[in-house]
């Protein structure tokens, strides 16, 4: 019901799925190195996530940038909160912060 129709879809996506990655391409076939790096990082942690391909929908591609006030893709959302883009996610994986955050938010991971 917002002025931007893409916002409704984004709001629904991040409400329905605990970990959502807005990305270029799909987790199996990322179309950009930055998206691929985040997919790889999340996969290593063993967290289940949904990839939303912004290339499949131009309104979503611009809409997610406006929604998050963030100029680049990929963008990671956890339990409805914007976590960051490729740089922040990489830093958080390297420092272990991301694993701590998933634990805090009670999101299951394959690794111990």
């Amino acid at each position: 019901m917002s002025e931007n129709p893409a916002f409704d879809r984004i709001t629904a996506e991040i409400a329905e799925t605990p970990v959502v990655l807005f990305m270029k391409g799909t987790p199996a076939f990322p179309q950009c190195g930055f998206s691929a790096a985040v997919v790889q990082g999340l996969s290593q942690i063993g967290v289940e996530f949904k990839g939303v391909d912004v290339l499949s929908d131009p309104s979503l591609r611009q809409g997610i940038k406006d929604f998050s006030d963030w100029p680049t893709i990929p963008q990671l959302y956890v339990k409805g909160d914007f976590v960051g883009g490729a740089d922040i996610v990489r830093e958080m994986i390297e420092s272990g912060e991301l694993v701590v955050m998933f634990k805090d938010k009670e999101i299951g991971m394959a690794q111990a």
């Binding site: 930055f34 940038k65 006030d69 963030w70 100029p71 680049t72 914007f82 976590v83 960051g84 883009g85 490729a86 740089d87 922040i88 830093e91």
Partner: protein, 79 residues
């Protein structure tokens, strides 16, 4: 269109007065940069907000003419 690293540095310093900015041209192609920005204003600010401040200083160029800028931000004391 590519941007010069001096231009990136200038914009960030204008937007965040007192910031220390280090820019590296990752591939030497004028299109893939890495920036380290250290600013007192970042203290106690979530990382997302720190990056948003840098993006705001770049006035919409990020994701446009500036294709790839890897960002690392911190306050002076924590590194």
């Amino acid at each position: 269109m590519a941007m010069e690293s001096e231009e990136i540095s200038r914009l960030i310093k204008e937007g965040i007065p007192g910031a220390e900015v280090t820019i590296a041209d990752m591939r030497g192609d004028g299109d893939h940069y890495a920036a380290r920005v250290v600013a007192a204003e970042f203290k106690g600010m979530p990382r997302v907000r720190q990056h948003q401040m840098v993006y705001a200083a770049l006035q919409g160029r990020m994701g446009g003419e500036l294709h790839a800028l890897a960002l690392e931000t911190s306050a002076p004391s924590d590194s």
